[in-house]
Symmetry: C2
Subunit: 334 residues, 2 copies
């Protein structure tokens, strides 16, 4: 059973998902496995994944776990957390731990092995954003879970172990530190100013117009003022909302348009650069929050740059955000 453990000093929860009986050298994972060979996510191989929890299909007659889907969500075959059981929270002296209860799912974004998220046809990308919402709503019904991390790893260096385009969802019984820090920081700003810090950022970025990558009626894409990594981008809804799940189809169409444009611009600047993106949204079953604002953060993984920073939490970024935004804006895309 995996386990959740809390650092007693800074309060960060981590998952211990052990594979027992291994030797230390087994933990050095081969980067090359992301390429080639048999693909369990391709149509026709549905029986090699755990049974699907969601699928979209144009064919109303399609049987479960058969080809014919346009998007498919399955439990991760090697989950970091398990769905069955009680949390059984307990102390061990001054330490805190609980059972590693949660869900870990793989969202297969397209049946086509060769398609990347960046160049996904719009109707497919809209489905991805709908599927995030459907899974958030469904997983939110389980009272054991407090947050669902939704993220994508693209490229082996960014942690992708399969080439076929997919996102991951991890339902957690705790709030990850990334979210608690943002909730606390934005709440303290709200108490002082009685305004949402993200709304203020949107306002200032539109006015200054030096870190804007692109925008449309509903969204703004910027390189943030103090990014950890070169070419980091945030995509924010222009209208205040803490909940991703309240979005409608028009919103997801506008999100698709801007997300796709941002990734195509990134790909022009840094072809095939590995990246991660993460959805930041209010905790499950949270009421509407005046101080928090959902958004996506896209962080390209440039070789070497993350070496020291990862160990220390201290970041040196060699590219000015205004410069990165200019490169991205000026990239010629079709």
């Amino acid at each position: 059973m995996p386990e959740l453990r809390k650092d007693p000093i800074i309060g960060r929860w981590i998952i211990i998902a052990t594979e027992r009986g291994k030797r230390p050298s087994d933990f050095i994972i081969d980067q090359s496995k992301a390429k080639g060979g048999f693909c369990p996510l391709c149509p026709g191989n549905e029986n090699t994944t755990p049974p699907e929890v969601l699928a979209y299909s144009d064919n109303q007659q399609r049987l479960k776990n058969q080809p014919g889907w346009s998007l498919r969500v399955v439990p991760n075959k090697y989950p970091a957390l398990v769905i069955e059981g009680d949390l059984n929270k307990q102390g061990e002296g001054l330490y805190d731990r609980m059972n590693g209860i949660g869900a870990h799912e793989v969202l297969i974004e397209t049946p086509d092995h060769a398609e990347t998220f960046t160049y996904l046809p719009p109707e497919r990308m809209v489905q991805v954003f709908w599927a995030y919402r459907d899974r958030l709503v469904d997983l939110g019904k389980d009272e054991r879970f407090r947050y669902v991390m939704i993220f994508k790893n693209f490229g082996a260096a960014a942690g992708a172990s399969l080439e076929h385009s997919h996102s991951q969802l991890v339902a957690l019984p705790i709030l990850p530190r990334m979210i608690t820090s943002e909730l606390e920081g934005s709440l303290s700003y709200y108490r002082y100013k009685e305004r949402c810090v993200f709304c203020d950022i949107i306002h200032q970025e539109l006015e200054q117009d030096i870190r804007v990558v692109t925008k449309n009626d509903k969204f703004l894409a910027i390189v943030p003022f103090a990014p950890r990594s070169p070419f980091e981008m945030w995509i924010l809804p222009r209208k205040h909302s803490s909940s991703y799940c309240n979005s409608d189809n028009e919103t997801f169409r506008a999100l698709t348009e801007i997300f796709s444009e941002c990734l195509r611009r990134l790909d022009k600047c840094l072809p095939d650069v590995p990246y991660n993106f993460v959805l930041h949204a209010a905790p499950l079953r949270s009421p509407a929050l005046e101080h928090y604002h959902w958004h996506f953060e896209i962080t390209p993984k440039l070789t070497m740059i993350a070496g020291f920073e990862w160990g220390s939490g201290f970041y040196i970024n060699p590219v000015a955000p205004e410069e990165a935004a200019r490169f991205l804006r000026e990239a010629e895309i079709d």
Copy 2:
């Protein structure tokens, strides 16, 4: 001029150290440059580095910036921060920034290009720990600086751009988030318990004896209860102290003994694994703190594991700390 910028939501400071006029693809740094070729850190090449700020030598007649040193500290030729100038703190709407004033130094740990820190003779490693102290004391006299990050990158994947064994020192006009989180967390524990959380950890780890890697009279080395990375180790002084600089020669000898043993055990388990270590200590000119406890954190960089985690601040560790500690304890070292 480099710049320090603060994230307006979570308060994290980052350094923007731009190299202007570059194209995006220039920011993909070649990992191979850490190996081979001319070495500016070797004896005889003293004129290729900026003039030294500290050197140890057995030869009292040695001239500055000449061979004959056993340890040498020089300003970084490509510094992330610059030493000359005023902070000039200013706002830009809701954002905060200041000039990138600071020091960035390279501590050359040995004249011998082939020696690694792990296998450094004890008398050399003791010098390294003294040199950290000497530089902390000296840089602490500059009232502009609030903290000195002292760290080592070993191996290209951990961010080392030079093969010759060296540490880095970065004097900062702000407190890095890594330290503010620990100061705040340990203070809140102290307010509740009136005890140092690190002292409590030491007490519990010695009693439980399942995550101890090794110990001596003055230090304890553990795999922490909730580590971000497999085989992460912390080395803590057993006697409470928030200031690294108050250590005496006996302490540094004991630190050398345990540090060297930990790294040799790590090298046996995972030969040549890249790693970072970082000194965590109270801010410069801080009075003695009852709630804070200086220590080193050693984080091996296992391929791939840091991919997603880096983007999200959310960690999945595939090795139980008790298992990692057992592997490290059982490694046969000379």
